[in-house]
């Protein structure tokens, strides 16, 4: 593989990161300027609107100016500007924008400039993760994203659970990233390269022992598995999700997880077939364990955030099915699945945030009577949970369909069956939530739940996308295929 180290379309390739950095500065500045005149009312929502609006503008700019052509390496091979990095950046910008909108009215979070700043910094890290083509930059990107996310998880200083969440996230994260870094160093030692593609080239030419590289890569996978919360590196997930401010949870469960997959896919596909056989066994076992354990543990949850945490573990397992096929279609199916998952999960968390703000609870039992208190909100939750369960005409159905199709296509019919059994378990616990929402009565039925404008926008957008992706999936699949193709 030759490296096209031509004069780089630097600005275009870095557009997401540049605009995020500018926006982060702007948010800090706005926070500083507006702070003395701190009054109730407009100021409270201003920062959130600024962040979300800025992200939307960045999204448009990236769409107009930042489209990739042929895959190009930037900064001497540090970054790879291709359809994958572009598409993942779009997903991250979208998720961050929705998260910003969902944060505006949340107590202790919504009016804090540093909160939005950290959100933007984390997004920069995620974008760099998806584009990184060099071990060193990859590590830096992961740390940039992670450290910002640790702080976001523990942002509510006076809340013990939030503090615990941040600390737990940090401890697990630090440990796994140390293991991953060790794996990186072994890879470098074996090949003398830090660039992913050169490194893979060396391995392919047989200049390093396959066993050694395979072992080193397993260490690296520890770090990735932590990011996507795959079993057995999932232990942090429920506690962190439960304790973190809910908008941050939504962001961690979507954007951060997708970034983990982006890195995993890029890494795995760069090496392609010769070395991958042993890893595939590991990854396949991981996929099976992840979806099964996630779904089984979700069955007994009584807290909606913990339920969604385990469900998000299970979804990482489904998405891994597409990864282990290693086929073009399989990769595309994973990418498609992730996009469907992001919009769906954000919608689910939006409802959780709104409910917690009005009812002050995350207990599933307290959702009783929601369909009478707020039929629209109940319907949004219905759509989100059914999409997670994989029901048509919603995005989740098509996503699962593609992933299972990819498995059958690659001769992994048994894996598709395991996925299918898991989908049944999943349907059960999503239905138990819906049962509470639609069936159980509550004395609070005459207290409607207030839904502010930013929440209407965010929720409407997500639900719209859930339906759109589910019904008109062809263009999305087309893009997912393009992303997959650019990773090979």
């Amino acid at each position: 593989m030759t490296l096209p180290l031509t004069a780089p379309p630097l600005i275009n390739g870095l557009l997401p990161e540049i605009s995020l950095l500018l926006l982060a500065g702007l948010v800090l500045l706005a926070d500083l300027v507006a702070r003395p005149r701190q009054t109730a009312g407009p100021r409270r929502r201003g920062l959130g609107y600024l962040t979300a609006g800025g992200l939307a503008a960045a999204l448009i700019a990236v769409f107009v100016l930042g489209r990739p052509g042929e895959p190009t390496l930037l900064f001497g091979g540090m970054l790879r500007f291709d359809t994958a990095s572009f598409a993942f950046a779009v997903v991250f910008l979208f998720a961050a924008a929705v998260t910003a909108l969902l944060s505006v009215d949340v107590e202790g979070v919504g009016d804090r400039g540093e909160y939005y700043f950290l959100l933007l910094v984390a997004t920069i890290g995620l974008c760099l993760m998806a584009a990184a083509a060099d071990l060193i930059l990859l590590y830096l990107a992961i740390e940039t994203a992670s450290i910002a996310l640790y702080v976001l998880a523990g942002f509510l200083k006076r809340d013990d659970k939030s503090t615990e969440s941040g600390l737990k996230y940090f401890l697990f994260g630090a440990l796994t990233s140390a293991v991953m870094l060790y794996g990186f160093s072994l890879l470098f030692g074996a090949t003398g390269q830090t660039n992913l593609y050169l490194l893979a080239d060396q391995v392919r030419r047989g200049s390093a022992s396959l066993l050694f590289v395979g072992g080193a890569a397993v260490l690296v996978f520890v770090g990735f598995a932590f990011k996507i919360s795959a079993v057995p590196f999932h232990f942090w997930t429920p506690d962190v999700y439960e304790g973190a401010p809910t908008p941050a949870t939504g962001f961690i469960s979507t954007a951060s997880k997708v970034a983990g997959f982006a890195v995993l896919l890029r890494f795995l596909l760069a090496f392609a077939s010769p070395t991958s056989d042993t890893w595939l066994v590991v990854l396949t076992a991981m996929a099976v364990a992840t979806m099964t354990l996630g779904n089984l543990l979700a069955l007994v949850q009584t807290n909606i955030k913990r339920l969604l945490a385990y469900s998000s573990i299970a979804h990482a397992g489904y998405a891994l099915i597409g990864v282990v096929t290693l086929s073009l279609f399989g990769t595309a199916s994973t990418v498609f699945y992730l996009v469907a998952y992001v919009v769906t999960n954000l919608a689910a968390f939006a409802v959780v945030i709104l409910f917690a703000r009005s009812a002050g609870s995350d207990r599933i039992a307290d959702y009783a009577g929601l369909s009478r208190r707020s039929p629209g909100l109940a319907l949004a939750l219905l759509v989100a949970l059914l999409s997670l369960a994989g029901m048509p005409p919603l995005a989740g159905f098509v996503g699962k369909f593609y992933v299972f199709a990819a498995a059958v296509n690659s001769g992994l019919t048994w894996l598709a069956f395991i996925g299918v059994i898991n989908a049944i378990i999943g349907l059960y616990y999503y239905m138990t939530v819906l049962k509470v929402v639609y069936l159980h009565r509550s004395p609070d039925e005459d207290k409607p739940i207030a839904v502010g404008l930013p929440y209407t926008i965010a929720l409407g957008t997500c639900v719209g996308f859930i339906l759109l992706i589910g019904v008109a999936s062809a263009p999305w699949l087309e893009r997912a295929l393009a992303v997959a193709a650019s990773l090979y």
Binding site: S371, R372, P375, L379, L386, M391, P392, P393, F397, F401, F404, A405, V408, N409, T413, A416, F417, V420, A423, I424, L427, Y428, M431, L434, K435, Y438, L439, S473, A474, L477, E478, L481
Partner: protein, 490 residues
């Protein structure tokens, strides 16, 4: 391009459902009006399609095709033939009568009709689908709303349990079938989900024998085949009246139809291999279902198990794989759909007024609601296969077909009919005749006009098909021929 009549039929309920969700929740009258209008549109278009279908041409008509997910060879391809068109009509009829008997739903009627209509779209979609992905897509849409409809508006005592059980059974069935469908898609190598093209895929015999059970039984769960029938009586009983009508009247046909269309027509060699097993299981359905029905003390459970028994006859007809049997099965699907919708409507009307379904506590209702009694008796006669009613027209060919394959099965199945006569007569005698318990005297409210219309429509159809089978039989026979052309043999 001509008027896309099938698409309009399929999406009218969905559009109406979404429209309903946008309307103010308290305007009950308006909500019912919109629901009725949508049902009328869907029904009249179904009737039009039924009449306009050119039987001399046969085959799939009113076809529409549009690219949907071209990367996987998925297209929105729909059309109807002699087998599916009567079922579309049936759905239209049950939808309209379902709206009529639900006129009295007072708890959140907006959501009730919206979910019911989304369900109806799923059902229509499956019947007209000519693409496997389209079929699965609509199949799942048809399954889920049932959960909410039963869980929210169902019978308080068992609704949570029944709704969950039903949904899980059906979802398991459909996802198992989904894997089978994926295996067919990738093995065929044609790169298309189009069923008409997949019929020519020429799967190896071994492949067909391996995958047929997954696909056939995956769908047949919804058809109530033994031993996967367990969800159905519980579901029927727990559901509110209109949903029971939909459920037993249409949804079970959905399972049977999909099992025929995907299982038997795409994997014919598998069907021939597994036919004896299906015969055996369906026979259990017929006999066991009717035996269980005859010992029930709950009026609605009697009807629930009678559905299990009658769906067994449909499956028997399928398993004969000959012209008579398939024609009979097609007719039985329609006849049973109308009949059971009628039964559940009657049960609902009686229950709404008596507030009990214990057969022992009921009695003498023919005096206060003669029309209801007459309707139920007509349904009962259909159920027993009495000549002059649609049940005879449907069951006679099934037995003819069975006789050609396995005379002994026909003999035993006939036993089921005898038992059916027994329990139907018991119910008729106990509920509608005899003395009315004192507690009911003078307390039984009048029957709504909407209910009367629904009963007359349903009962009238049963008599019409019974006396004038030509309105439907030749069409279904042409559909059966089409199946045999694909399956081979006869």
């Amino acid at each position: 391009m001509s008027f896309p009549i099938l698409s309009v039929i399929v999406f009218t309920p969905m559009a109406a459902g979404l429209l309903l969700l946008l309307m103010p929740a308290r305007r009950h009258g308006l909500i019912r009006g919109v629901a009725l209008a949508a049902a009328l549109i869907a029904l009249s278009l179904s009737v039009y399609a039924f009449i306009a279908y050119d039987q001399s041409l046969g085959g799939y008509q009113f076809q529409e095709q549009a690219s949907w997910i071209p990367q996987l060879g998925i297209s929105y391809h729909i059309g109807v033939d002699g087998m599916s068109l009567p079922l579309v009509l049936l759905t239209g009829i049950v939808m309209l009568t379902g709206v009529l008997v639900s006129w009295g739903v007072d708890d959140r009627p907006r959501e009730f009709f919206a979910f019911l209509f989304i369900l109806a779209t799923g059902v229509f979609g499956v019947f007209v689908a000519l693409d496997l992905f389209v079929l699965l897509f609509f199949y799942e849409i048809a399954v889920f709303p049932m959960f909410l409809l039963i869980a929210i508006w169902g019978w308080q005592v068992t609704r949570e349990y029944a709704a969950m059980k039903l949904t899980l059974y059906l979802f398991i069935g459909s996802v198992v079938a989904l894997v089978g469908v994926l295996a067919m898609y990738f093995t065929s190598g044609l790169g298309t989900f189009d069923m008409l093209r997949m019929e020519q895929a020429g799967f190896s015999t071994a492949f067909q024998r391996l995958w047929f059970p997954f696909v056939f039984f995956g769908f047949a769960v919804l058809g109530g085949i033994f031993p996967f029938h367990n969800w159905s009586p519980d579901g029927h009983v727990a559901a509110p009246t209109a949903v029971s009508m939909f459920h037993a009247g249409v949804l079970m046909k959905l399972g049977a139809f999909a099992a025929l269309r995907v299982g038997i027509m795409l994997l014919p060699e598998g069907a021939k291999f597994w036919a004896p097993l299906i015969l055996g299981l369906a026979l259990v359905n017929v006999v066991y279902g009717s035996l269980i029905a005859s010992v029930q003390t709950d009026f609605k459970y009697v009807i629930g198990f009678s559905s299990v028994s009658h769906m067994g006859l449909v499956m028997l007809g399928f398993a004969t794989l000959n012209q008579d049997g398939l024609t009979g099965a097609g007719l039985q699907m329609f006849s049973h759909g109308v009949m059971t919708a009628l039964f559940f409507a009657v049960v609902g009307i009686v229950y709404d007024r008596a507030h009990t379904r214990e057969i022992a506590k009921l009695g003498g209702f023919s005096r206060v609601m003669p029309l209801v009694a007459v309707a139920f008796v007509i349904g009962g006669l259909v159920s027993m296969g009495m000549p002059g009613f649609s049940g005879f027209v449907a069951e006679f060919p099934i037995f003819l077909g069975l006789w050609q394959v396995q005379p002994i099965v026909a003999v035993i199945a006939a036993l089921g009919i005898v038992i059916t006569a027994g329990y139907i007569l018991r119910v008729v005698g106990k509920v509608f005749y005899g003395d009315m318990p004192a507690e009911f005297a003078g307390h039984i409210g009048a029957i709504r006009t909407q209910d009367r219309v629904a009963l007359v429509v349903l009962a009238g159809l049963l008599v019409l098909i019974g006396l004038q089978p030509w309105v439907m039989a030749p069409m279904i026979a042409s559909g059966a021929q089409a199946v045999l052309r694909v399956v081979g043999g006869g």
